[in-house]
């Protein structure tokens, strides 16, 4: 079993203009195989970490944003305008979905689950211990209790 990192992790874009810190582990990490994520990454899936915005700090650089009609309520991608590296996306208010391989420690957070595998690349082998969902999943039943508690606390804090 790969040990998950617990401490603050630094990351950034390919050209170095954008640097950021994640102060704690994401609530949940996942590999999303939807067609939008495949297009945005130029790869078979995205590796994203779902985390409270309050746990993420932009240390340097400025990002360009683009609103896209992806996901249920749309999404806003944030990327470095100098090199094009996308750093994080907002799907719901109060949370960032951070691209986990933009962390300097690129293996810090293996995915907790694979989602939208109905559109996965046919050659990709997903055998192993990581749960696989053809579409999305039911957060209430499929997330461990501590992740759910952290998520619900963050949603309450955002609602104020």
């Amino acid at each position: 079993m790969i040990k998950q990192a617990e401490a603050r992790e630094l990351g950034g874009c390919a050209c170095g203009a954008v640097r950021y810190a994640m102060n704690t582990a994401p609530i949940l990490s996942y590999a999303c195989h939807c067609t939008d994520c495949q297009q945005l990454t130029g790869s078979a899936f995205i590796l994203s970490g779902w985390i409270e915005k309050t746990e993420v700090e932009l240390l340097s650089g400025e990002m360009t944003t683009c609103k896209l009609p992806t996901g249920e309520r749309g999404s806003t991608v944030h990327f470095c305008p100098q090199c094009g590296t996308s750093i994080w996306t907002e799907y719901s208010p109060g949370f960032w979905f951070v691209r986990l391989t933009t962390l300097d420690n690129q293996t810090a957070y293996p995915p907790d689950m694979h989602i939208f595998t109905r559109s996965k690349q046919p050659w990709l082998n997903l055998s192993g211990d990581i749960p696989v969902y053809e579409d999305y999943y039911d957060r209430e039943t499929d997330w461990p209790a501590e992740k759910l508690a952290r998520y619900n606390a963050a949603v309450e804090a955002i609602a104020g």
């Binding site: 390919a14 790869s43 683009c66 990327f79 094009g84 391989t101 690349q121």
Partner: protein, 168 residues
């Protein structure tokens, strides 16, 4: 030329010049490939992991003459990569990376899942797997290289012929 000759020519061209359309997430950039790639890499290097936001980039290696930009303008950035440089071309509106130039100005490396048919091409070769994500299982029966490889030893003759023809 008779009608039947003309029809045959049209059929042959449509087979040879299979066109795959592709583009960025916001739709500003559209392009077409007018042929199949010479080879397709899944590159697991740390640069590709960072730039893709994934475990690897799926790069289709193709002659520039077989790639047509149909709409939109791409921004570009040159960065050090290995012993040389790479120049990534991305949509300045949505950040989607589309094309990269590596060692030679004759070729593009097209991000294969920016094609509308995202399953059009399967990686022929996995490279730089020494830095691959530890949880990822690589498929059986496909060449896997911890670093790079010798193209003369690995590529089929038709790929090599295309490669050398493009360099002339």
């Amino acid at each position: 030329m008779t009608n039947s000759d003309s029809d045959n020519t049209a059929v042959e061209q449509s087979v040879e010049q299979s066109v795959e359309g592709g583009g960025c997430a916001c739709g500003a950039v559209r392009y077409a490939l007018t042929g199949t790639p010479i080879t397709v890499h899944a590159c697991h290097c740390t640069d590709c992991q960072r730039m893709s936001g994934s475990a690897f980039a799926m790069n289709a290696w193709i002659e520039k003459s077989r790639v047509e930009l149909l709409s939109g303008a791409l921004a570009s950035r040159t960065l050090p990569a290995g012993k040389g440089t790479s120049t990534t071309h991305f949509c300045p509106q949505c950040g989607t990376s589309i094309l990269t130039e590596y060692s030679s100005p004759k070729f593009w490396f097209v991000r294969a899942t920016t094609l509308d048919n995202q399953q059009a091409f399967t990686p022929d070769i996995h490279i730089w797997t020494r830095s691959k994500q530890p949880w990822l299982h690589l498929p059986d029966g496909v060449p896997v290289f911890e670093a790079y490889y010798d193209r003369e030893q690995v590529w089929p003759p038709d790929s090599l012929a295309r490669y050398h023809a493009a360099l002339v």
